[in-house]
Amino acid sequence: MEQTISLVGCGQTPFGEHWDKSLRDLIDEAITAAIDASPCTALDIDMVIVANMIGERVSGQAHLGAMAASMLPHHPPALRVEAACASGSIAIHTACSLLESGRAQNVLVVGAEKMTDASNEEIAAALMGAADSELDAPSGITFPGLFGLVAQRYMHEYGLTREDLSCVSEAHHRNAVQNPFAQFRKEVPAQQISASPLIADPLRLLDCSPISDGAAACILSNTHASSIRIAASQVSTDTVSLAQRPSLTSFNATREAIAKALKEAGVTRSDLSAVELHDCFSIAAIISLEDMGFAQPGTGVQLYKRETGLRINGSGGLKACGHPVAATGIKQIIDVSKQLSASKARWGLAHNFGGTGATCCIHVLEHANG
């Protein structure tokens, strides 16, 4: 980071099924909460960045930058970014760039997704926009299907069992019990996960993050101070289609992004005490732990089976918190900051990816009193 970028205010809606709220209502609620929690007034905001993936398709609403800015009294400049499930973290990355360039001093970043207005089939088709429309989508595969291919291959290569896989969602659900913003705040035993209906074998219903409504917002500033700063913000990309990758069981974008992020923050893996990672499907959590270097290939699940110094998805992750696509990346940043503040630990990391790992964005957060 070229300068000190502080996280000065956070707010979010609970994630879940909000039948009484539109996309606009969700954005408004998160923005209001973030400004209320910050030392700024609405008039201090000099840039708004909105993250959203399927607004046009589900709500018939594009042009979300101006829509969000119009919720502030002075209508500041605004733009919208999209990188599938990584939209939220890409918005934070964009905000950091604008702050570093001197173009803005107080940037409001909001990610929102309204998903429950559409049928499951429509949502499945809309989410396929994150895959390759010429190479993947024509086969009629879905995102659970794509990760089903990944999981099938991973089990073949490393001998991961069904019981192993269920440890992941079990741990995430356990963590979410304490999170008032989570969609599913209850423990789910591994046996129940292993017996849930098949969605795309070997993945079952409780391996998959749910369809959710929600919004999350935060304010990044280089004029106001706070105890949490963004120490690194790094993006890497890979081919959009799985069919063009050398490996199905490892995502190169994650490996590149983590290396760059650790270097930028000047930390090692052992300095990190909290990680929010992108568990859109249980297999993705395992692969992400390996790609981030916390475990050797084939052994990621072991981190769910024994105590380590690293807290993984303390919020409940995408599985239990819900996954309103573009809100997730921002919600992860909020959760890491909360965990650092509560534990007085110094370093935390948020790992967010889009599609089958075609965009990966990693942020490292530092707590000043940690």
Binding site: E121, G140, L149, I199, P246, L248
Partner: protein, 314 residues
Amino acid sequence: MANSAPLIARAQKQRSENMQEGVILSYTTVHNPPEGFPSSPRRVALIELADGKKVMGLVPGNAPLAIGLRVLPRMRMTQVSRQGLRRYEICYEAVESVREKQEKFPGYIIALTGPSGVGKSTVNKLLTNVVSDYVQHVPIMTTRNRKKGDGKEYRYVSTEQFLELKNRGEIIAATEIPSRSEKRWYGYRASDIEAIWEQGKVPTVITEMQLLQDLARHYGRTSILSCGLLPPGQNKRVMLSQLLHRLRNRGRDTEESIQDRLRNAEEDLKFFDERKDLFDFVFVNEDLDALIGKMKDCILSFIKPLAPQQETTL
């Protein structure tokens, strides 16, 4: 949208390319297909086709699937539109025999492909030097005459010997490079590659179109970390003149042989265009130091996911 006429027309173009047999790399059954597809479960597999390209294809039916299973393409009616138009698509059908070599992932092979004169040997030498703990060069079997400037990378055999090894299946990748002056075969032995794997290292090979495809067929496309190497230049003409310049400068070849090489290079460049799917990374050889650094990072990130000092973290 998925059914608009121009979109279907474009998709049909690709169809003939995908009418090949292949091997299943992974598979799944999608129980809740997206909007625009029939609602019954769809069995989809990621298939590596015979030419090395990977595709997502339907594998209808109930016969059990397995990774490594061989599949053959078939045309099938998959959808009837509301207007009554029938849509035919390629589906794949599993055949009994399992290709054993594909059963287990053998390990990575780093392949370096590029037109003659682009600097494959130099890059390969420097690269194997900087990451010598992890990679080792595979000796090239060749029938060509020993030349001044040849390194230790060649093993010289007679044409008869070469063809016999090839027929016995010991040389698993072979190519004949056309030349006016001599008949030249190049190839790789499976035993050389496998010996390097046994040492816990990753073999590196210098290839061209034929060798690359042979290796992908033998060990599976997934095993090949395929790096393309191109000369700088925005178009083919600039690239070729760069190559000509380099070939003349290094003074190893006669003018006649340079003309041969250039003709082959033109074919190679065409191959880069036509078979993008056979390359995982494409590098431009402009600044050698920068290139080696970039390739090193790229390759290490694959073959060595954890750096030694990072392994001790947890």
